[in-house]
Amino acid sequence: MSDDGTLRPFGAFDSAAPGHYGVSPGAVTLAEIPISVAWNVQGDPLHPAFLAEAKRRFGLALPLVPNTTARGPAWKALWLGPKSWLLMAGDETVIVPPAGFDAQRDALNAAGGALFDLSASRVAFMVKGLRAAAVLAKNCPLDFHPRAFLAGNCAQSLLGHINALIERPDATPTFVVMVPRSFAQDGWRQLCRSSAQYGYDVVVPVSMS
């Protein structure tokens, strides 16, 4: 990555050009994952009306166990806090019409909850491969061992000194690291720098289902 801070729309970077970097053969794959929609739903889980409205709207029960995720037919929900979740399209290829936002917000407000559009707030990176956990462990104090960070878990922590939301979508060594958009360059640089010793391939933006 150039240090002049070149940032293109959608968080694509110069050093994110597809190709192989570092030692060969590679043991890590990095990619940007486009985020089509990310809505922050907030509300009190002690209020059944709120939970019911969220379920009706998004087709899933909001996960109440800390650092877990839940999936519905169209959406998945990441636990962010006791009263806060991040709703993302379960399959990024299905574009949820953002025009629907105002109606959803009003319905949740009426049920005592809240809905904020954060679709452009974060940039997501996929870290995949045999050494994916090692790359994250250079930057984040969490335990990424499969016994500790299960498929379907998510957690908010640090990537270097950047806030990061980390999700493990499945049991393969794959992690999704989401960082605030303005910090995305530093986050990407940090992932590349930590991956070089294992060798890494940058692939074109992919969607995660």
Partner: protein, 1003 residues
């Protein structure tokens, strides 16, 4: 001379891989597997440095991290590393090392004159000598000379060319030390199902020597070690780290360890770090750090050719090097006998074993073996002194009965005074230590933390017992993590009957002037300790500071216990009463570069970029750091100065139109039925009257009534609001809100989230702003449809080639510049498209981007305050001219304290505008006085908070806080800066220089 002292067979060295290296410019050859020390000894080089204070010749003393003498300067490409321990440096082809602390050479060192004058420079001499004349000025001069004379190596002067990284790790059981004990512990824990990390500081496990013929579980010990190490290496839940030193135990069972990744390679790979700092969190720690041998102090015990007995043996067995031809062993325990047998097997002639114990006291099996091997054992005797010039040539041995001393020629003295368990990390883990009379050393007693000492680190020197301890510790540690082991037999070795040690710290000297060194690295002698005790430095920590005993790179690993035992002798108290100094991390020195890791240079903090950053770069923006953000300061054109650019940009906003990137402003969305109530409590003004589709300026106070932050809040729907904060306070205001909502007012139905990252924002300002925007948006912009302080949503026509189509935007008619202005917020990923669309649409109107400097000029012209310069934590809303905003009919944070008499006094400093009378700029940070010529103390009436050249007023203008300022409009005062030597006449006026009635906002 090619490796005259190398043995033809044996050891771990690879004779097929010769390595060339130079020491002090002389080329030598060693083999793969050597350390620098073993390679030097193979070439017969013992003299490697000069001592710290007396510049006495010093040789290799140990074979490990405890080395006090063999510190070398390592040069490698752009980097130079001082104080590298030759005993742990793995040799690579082309290594270039040199001795330290000597000039012109290690053999002929001018500084050795200190040795002749040593009686004049006892411990603490500089505290006594250089305290006159009694002014700090003289001490500072002396210090420069002393530092040059002493010192250890030379620090690098160039930036560190290497890279370092951090690695977090988690495990159930961390085993520190990969000796036989540690291997037994790690194996047991792994078999119990625990996640295990094993740290070994050497290149391989089980490096410590064992008696010849030792078997573990019926197999030769070396085979057992290799098998277990390989089993651990293959185990999926075990991480085996070699070349890794656990250097510190910190709160919460966090262990710091440093892995030397590439130091042993002649050509380090292009990717990856030189060193890796591990931060390991373990449920339980097994401390299997072994023990460190200590010497016995006698006259001239620092001559090169003097080694710890176990080290001499390590050179023979591990590196296949004879450290000498003819050795005298000096011991008070059985260990040296095993060492003597190994040395003899390596071809070293054992001239004598001098044992301080009587025959009856030294009746172990090893003694018998030595006797069987034909060795001369001199019992109940001591080595009273050594002779030699730069190398030991002979020793004097005296029996304790007072028989005349006997001189024995030798070129090697191997000393063993017993073993000190490496309890450093145990002590750091708040572990209590106990003085063990049998070992004559400190051993672990109890720790409140989950750290289990085992083997030699626990004072258990026998192999069979240590294996059992290690095994049990591994099982116990795994159990702490909830991993229960199936029944598993511990590894077994035949016990070895040994005779106990008889403590002996220092042998009395035949002559009073003889030098007996306790701490080789810091040149601390027995006499220095006696002197310190006489002068009242009787606490062990005071002894350390006064004499420097136990300081330096080795932290007294071989000397501390001897020193405190001698202090106890001086004071006539038992050793436990004296106690130990505090064991502080790091256990061994850690390269400073490892601590910042990746976070160095430009990356010491992260950088935040707006969505339009690439455009700013391409268009020649100069940037300013605003917190972590990079913001355009101005956009100078070719040949244009920054000042000219700022003036051009500021003028364009007043005359035509300009656009500025304000993405960095804090943005917080609020939803719920009680948002208006929350805003009423937060802000001084009223919010329950704000209509949907309207925004309002607000000021929030701290609890003490001072202004905390300002910004606008818009009502987007019945229950949905958007608050903006200043760039600097974005995080602080969010924290403030979360604190209030979660702890003070949980009954309020309000949810909040930061959307700073969601929205790219720009302000379009100037008389032509509406004309620019009209061609872009799909809503009506007339004053009737979209008046001042209106808020709405719209779609912005993007460039025709933008596949994403129209840009959904939030539009705000608000103004910071004082001109007709709109703020446009778009989802961040469309920020650049929006920016480019605005600039394209504005081209016909002469639009210019402007930076933070022009923005500052515009707001000073309008008297808009900024958090920091004007709202400096000491100003109230009334001071800033916003007293009328404070709503009388409601409560808000900070309001109750506004009535304090000091806050309503007539001489409050109030915001005013200043105009310079003349061409001279108003000096930065100026004080305002009535008479610049008056002698100090010259009463200060106020100070300048912000200043600029105003291209629109055509004068130097400023905002200032001035005592009773609102009553002084029209006065002429002086802005003076004694620092700048400047004084400027200024006229006081209202803090607004352009359009005081605000007509331009509403056109």
């Amino acid at each position: 001379m090619t490796q005259r002292f190398r043995l033809p067979t044996g050891g771990i060295v690879d004779r097929t891989r010769p390595l060339a290296f130079t020491f002090d410019g002389v080329p030598y050859q060693g083999y793969g597997g050597d350390t620098l020390a073993s390679a030097l000894l193979a070439n017969g080089v013992h003299l490697v440095g000069r001592s710290f204070k007396y510049h006495r010749p010093r040789g290799i003393f140990s074979a490990g991290t405890e080395e006090p003498n063999a510190l070398v300067q390592l040069a490698r490409g752009a980097h130079t590393e001082p104080n590298a321990r030759a005993t742990t440096l793995e040799l690579y082809d082309g290594m270039t090392a040199s001795s330290q602390n000597c000039w012109p050479s290690v053999r002929h060192d001018i500084g050795a004159v200190n040795n002749a004058m040593s009686r004049l420079i006892p411990a603490g001499f500089y505290y006594k000598t250089f305290m006159w004349p009694p002014t700090p000025r003289w001490w500072l001069r002396y210090e420069q000379v002393i530092r040059r004379a002493a010192g250890m190596g030379r620090a690098a002067t160039q930036p560190d060319p290497d890279s370092y990284e951090h690695q977090y790790a988690h495990c159930d059981v961390l085993v520190i030390g990969g000796g036989t004990t540690g291997l037994a512990a790690a194996r047991a824990a792994a078999l119990a199902g625990a996640r295990v990390i094993l740290c070994e500081q050497n290149v391989d496990c089980g490096a410590a020597p064992l008696p010849a013929g030792t078997k573990i579980d019926q197999t030769p010990a070396s085979e057992w070690i290799a098998a277990v190490a390989s089993e651990l290496l293959r185990h999926p839940e075990v991480t085996l780290l070699v070349r890794t030193t656990a250097f510190g135990y910190y709160d919460g069972s966090l262990v710091g360890a440093i892995e030397r990744v590439t130091d042993h390679l002649a050509a380090p790979p292009a990717h990856g770090p030189r060193e890796r700092l591990w931060k390991i969190r373990a449920t339980a720690v097994v401390l299997a750090t072994g023990a460190i041998e200590r010497g016995i102090v006698y006259a001239n015990n620092d001559l090169p050719g003097t080694l710890l007995a176990s080290a001499a043996r390590t050179y023979v067995e591990r590196y296949a090097v004879r450290p000498g031809d003819r050795a005298v062993m000096f011991t008070n325990n059985d260990g040296a006998y095993a060492d003597a047998l190994a040395l003899q097997a390596g071809g070293v002639d054992i001239a004598a074993i001098v044992d301080a114990r009587t025959d009856a006291q030294s009746s172990g099996i090893l003694t018998a073996r030595a006797r069987d091997a034909g060795m001369v054992i001199v019992s109940a005797a001591t080595l009273i002194g050594a002779h030699g010039n730069r190398h030991v040539a002979a020793v004097d041995v005296a029996s304790r009965a007072g028989v005349p001393a006997q001189r024995i020629d030798c070129d090697l003295v191997c000393v063993s005074g017993g073993w000190n368990p490496a309890v450093h990390l145990y002590s750091q883990a708040r572990g209590k230590l106990r003085y063990d009379e049998v070992l004559a050393s400190f051993v672990p007693e109890s720790s409140p933390l989950p750290i289990i000492p085992a083997g030699a680190a626990n004072g258990c020197l026998g192999l069979s017992e240590a294996l059992a301890e290690g095994h049990a510790a591994g099982i116990a540690a795994a159990r702490q993590a909830g991993r229960i082991a199936a029944l598993l037999a511990p590894p077994r070795a035949d016990p070895l009957a040994t005779a106990p040690l008889q403590p002996l710290w220092a042998v009395p000297a035949a002559r009073k002037s003889a030098r007996r060194f306790v701490d080789l690295q810091n040149d601390v002698t027995v006499n220095d300790i006696a002197l310190a005790a006489r002068e009242g430095y009787q606490a062990v920590e005071h002894l350390k500071r006064y004499t420097t005993l136990g300081m330096g790179t080795d932290q007294g690993k071989t000397s501390n216990i001897i020193g405190l035992a001698l202090l106890a002798e001086q004071l006539g108290v038992p050793i436990p009463r004296v106690g130990t100094t505090t064991f502080r991390p790091p256990y061994t020195p850690v390269t400073l570069g490892a601590f910042p890791g990746h976070e160095s240079g430009a990356h010491v903090a992260p950088t935040r970029y707006s969505a339009m950053h690439a455009w700013h770069v391409e268009h020649g923006a100069r940037f300013v750091n605003a917190g972590l953000w990079k913001r355009p300061h101005s956009y100078p054109r070719a040949g244009e100065s920054e000042d000219d650019a700022v003036n051009r940009e500021a003028r364009s906003v007043r005359t035509t139109v300009g656009v500025v990137d304000v993405s960095t402003l804090g943005k917080i969305e609020l939803q719920g039925r009680d948002v208006a109530e929350l805003l009423n409590r937060l802000y001084i003004n009223r919010w329950d009257t704000l209509a949907i589709g309207r925004c309002r300026y607000g000021v929030m106070l701290r609890d003490d009534g001072m202004v905390m932050d300002d910004g606008t809040t818009s009502r987007l729907s019945d229950t949905h609001y958007l608050m903006t904060t200043t760039t600097v306070n974005a995080v602080k205001v969010m924290q403030h809100l979360e604190y209030l909502l979660q702890t003070q007012w949980p009954e309020l139905d309000v949810y909040a989230t930061s959307v700073t990252e969601q929205w790219a924002a720009m302000a379009l300002s100037g008389p032509k702003a509406r004309d620019v925007l009209a061609g872009l948006v799909d809503i009506e912009l007339s004053n009737a449809a979209f008046p001042f302080l209106a808020v709405g949503t719209c779609n912005v026509r993007a460039a025709s080639d933008d596949p994403a189509g129209a840009i959904p935007a939030r539009l705000f008619r608000m103004s910071y510049s004082g001109e007709l202005a709109y703020e446009i917020h778009v989802p961040c990923h469309r920020g650049l498209a929006m920016w480019e669309a605005v600039l394209a649409a504005g081209e016909a109107f002469g639009i210019m981007p402007y930076g933070t400097e022009a923005m500052g000029t515009l707001r000073i012209e309008k008297g808009h305050v900024v958090i920091g310069p004007e709202a400096d934590g000491r100003t109230t809303a009334d001071d800033l001219g916003m007293g009328k905003l404070v709503n009388a009919g409601k409560w808000c944070i900070g309001k109750p304290l506004l009535d304090r008499s000091a806050l309503t006094a007539a001489d409050r400093w109030q915001l005013v505008g200043l105009t310079a009378l003349g061409d001279a700029p108003i000096p930065r940070g100026a004080k305002i006085v009535a008479d610049p010529e008056r002698k100090a103390p010259n009463p200060m009436l106020g100070h300048v908070t912000s200043w600029c050249w105003s291209p629109n007023v055509d004068a130097w203008i400023a905002l200032a806080l001035l005592a009773n300022g609102r009553a002084r409009h029209g006065d002429t005062l002086w802005a003076v800066s004694p620092l700048a030597g400047a004084k400027v006449r200024v006229q006081v006026g209202p803090p607004c220089f352009i359009d005081p009635d605000g007509e331009r906002l509403r056109v």
